[in-house]
Point group: C2
């Protein structure tokens, strides 16, 4: 007898048939005596269809009107899902973000949730109803419709779970859990039963795009147990939890191998080693809305240093042309770039207390003659930038070196 | 410098190109110094697409959820139209029914407007903005989304005009005005420059489906000047006004010929001539939601009478089977029906003070050997039921007999 908040993404509700399947799954939870609150996305393709209409009219549509437009996508889904539940004799009631209400700030297309009014939902749950909420959307203090940005339905799910004190927030998606790495790259990749919030953040940020990073942060902050599972295949999925002292997770040194294919690196050479130089270089990149991933700067030699960072490959030319102007201003020597790089990371809370993890990693790469161009580390992650063509080879080598292959585990 | 409420129907906003054309038209009004409030329908086809999705799930979807679903159609249009206005440098702001807010009762799928809050709109107009409102929808006291029923966007337009005290409510549609009769039936049909509310009610109710009847009633009640005009062709359209003493309209005896093709007549024969018999017969018809058009009962002979009425042809079998039960209960003799009838009406405020209008009508029909099965009249209308196959012939004969043909007028 739990209270579950379930989030179903666009693929899970991508057709009438799939909406019926979701209703069937929810009906099963109700039949087992659970309370269910559901957050849904727009049917897959719908948001793009709507954005396409806007794009035909304007290259830069007003964000307020974009939100009015795309928020209709989830509104369609909540109504259809309620109808499918009613058909199964399950009482259900739909709510738009405005109706719940999910109060956000006024940053259209990327609003942040400020408060959720749980009164209506509590009333419905007490009456035995399933509550179906439009994900991704909210309303600001002036009654304007806002959206949380793409993928924001995950955040809606987590926020509802936090507000309602739910037993679990279940994110139904098209994969059956979080894997040690991408199964398309490593055949022996395994589904993880549990992963910590921090590990999940590193995994998601590094390219294992199962969950929106923001929703994971949110879940961690409000201590909402989060579970990723498949809406198509029954199974336990992967539970994302708080790290606990002495928990089983501590036994594992490295939980997963993440990677990112579409990186490009840009280096400003011969930057005068003066305070503020790095800030001056990065500020215009930020202003141009170019997202920077890895930043590396080593100690200076001869009073100059080199600053390297990676950006998405599509933005490397834009970044380079901005930097060429900035480089002159700060008195740097030259800007060079390389679009053919990739990032590979090992992630695991266990590595904190284990020496030798880095050397195992570098050794595994050296054994396959993979040259490491850059290294960055965090408490629970070591990332390297390598030549792109070695990406798959590197991921497989590391997956094996850290004992993550399905076979390895079985033999242990 | 007027305040115009303009309503654009589904065909007028049926594609991005047409939405751009509507924006262009509105921009022209703004450039001439007018204030504009716009009510729009869903893009043509969209409401049916949404109802189709619902129909795939359930034959009888919950009305509350149907409203959540279909109200997204207009929400898409308001956003796109605002984007198209912005592109032309016209400031504009969209409002859903909930945001205005248009308060209705809670009769989902056929709600009635109770009140419109004009504060937001006034503020926008003062700032020089065009206000774009989703037609057809509102919100009840509990914050549930409601809809006014199909065609309800006209009603939204009129209600906005009434609430704002607009100078004119302009209903843009795919015809360029109200005609003396259907131009597809009579080649010489003419556009009317003016028509009274009452005439318009009779014309619309009789099958000249230019405007939703409810919106005309509404406009009459609140004395909102209503104009029907084309969104595709420039022109003055037809102004629907209050009848004024000695106005030009009085000169015209008959303003138009209306007709309705899909009628069926049902007669209960030998009804005992006692008080309450007619009510007993019609009550179960009403309960079954069968709409009755014409009702005729003549004086009784031998203490029994015959009661005839017309219904839509699709419902004649249902009506007949209900009546066969009722006929026994009230002691009537028999129920007969005929599905092959049509109704032709002449409409005009002028006929009040003109004798001989009826005889001109009956004579014109007799000249073409058209037999009149039933006659009913109101103050400004005479309707006859005839065999369906004579419909076109009858309309043309009457159009000519009352001097409505374009040629006739020119020659006068």
């Amino acid at each position: 007898m739990g209270l579950y908040v379930q989030k179903y993404g666009g693929t899970s509700v991508g057709s009438v048939e799939r909406i019926e399947a979701v209703a069937e799954k929810i009906a099963g939870f109700k039949a087992n005596g659970h309370d269910v609150v559901v957050a849904v996305s727009a049917m897959s393709g719908e948001t793009n269809r709507l954005l396409g209409l806007a794009g035909e009219i304007s290259e830069q549509p007003a964000p307020r009107e974009l939100d009015v437009l795309v928020s209709t996508g989830e509104q369609v889904t909540i109504a259809l899902l309620c109808m499918a539940l009613h058909k199964r004799g399950v009482e259900a009631r739909s709510y738009t973000g405005n109706q719940v209400k999910i109060l956000t700030d006024s940053a259209h297309t990327k609003a942040r949730i400020r408060n959720i009014d749980i009164e209506n939902m509590r009333g419905d749950l007490e009456q035995g109803r399933v509550v179906v909420v439009a994900g991704f959307q909210g309303v600001d203090e002036d009654g304007n419709i806002t959206t949380l940005g793409r993928g924001g339905s995950d955040t809606t799910g987590v926020a509802l779970a936090a507000a309602l004190g739910a037993d679990e927030c279940q994110i139904y998606t098209d994969v059956d859990g979080v894997y040690t790495t991408d199964p398309r790259v490593v055949e022996g990749a395994r589904r993880l039963e549990k992963i910590t919030f921090e590990e999940m953040l590193e995994m998601a940020g590094q390219g294992s795009k199962v969950l929106q990073i923001r929703s994971v942060e949110f879940a961690g902050k409000y201590k909402v147990p989060l579970r990723v599972l498949s809406s198509f295949v029954d199974g336990p999925g992967t539970l994302i939890t708080l790290e606990e002292e002495g928990s089983a997770m501590e036994q594992v040194v490295v939980s997963g191998i993440a990677f990112n294919r579409d990186e490009a690196k840009v280096t400003v050479l011969g930057v005068p080693d003066t305070p503020g130089a790095a800030a001056k270089i990065l500020a215009p990149i930020g202003s141009a809305n170019i997202e920077v991933d890895v930043i590396v700067q080593n100690i200076s030699a001869d009073n100059t240093t080199d600053l390297t960072f990676t950006v998405h490959r599509n933005e490397v030319e834009k970044a380079k042309s901005i930097l060429e102007t900035v480089a002159k201003e700060v008195g740097a020597r030259e800007v060079i770039s390389d679009s053919k790089v990739a990032k590979v990371s090992i992630v695991g809370v266990g590595m904190r207390s284990h020496a030798g993890v880095a050397s195992t990693m570098f050794e595994a790469l050296a054994n396959d003659n993979i040259n490491i161009q850059m290294i960055t580390t965090s408490e629970i992650k070591i990332a390297v930038i390598i030549e792109e063509r070695y990406l798959e080879l590197a991921v497989r080598a590391l997956h094996s070196a850290f004992g993550l292959d399905a076979d390895t585990v079985t033999e242990d």
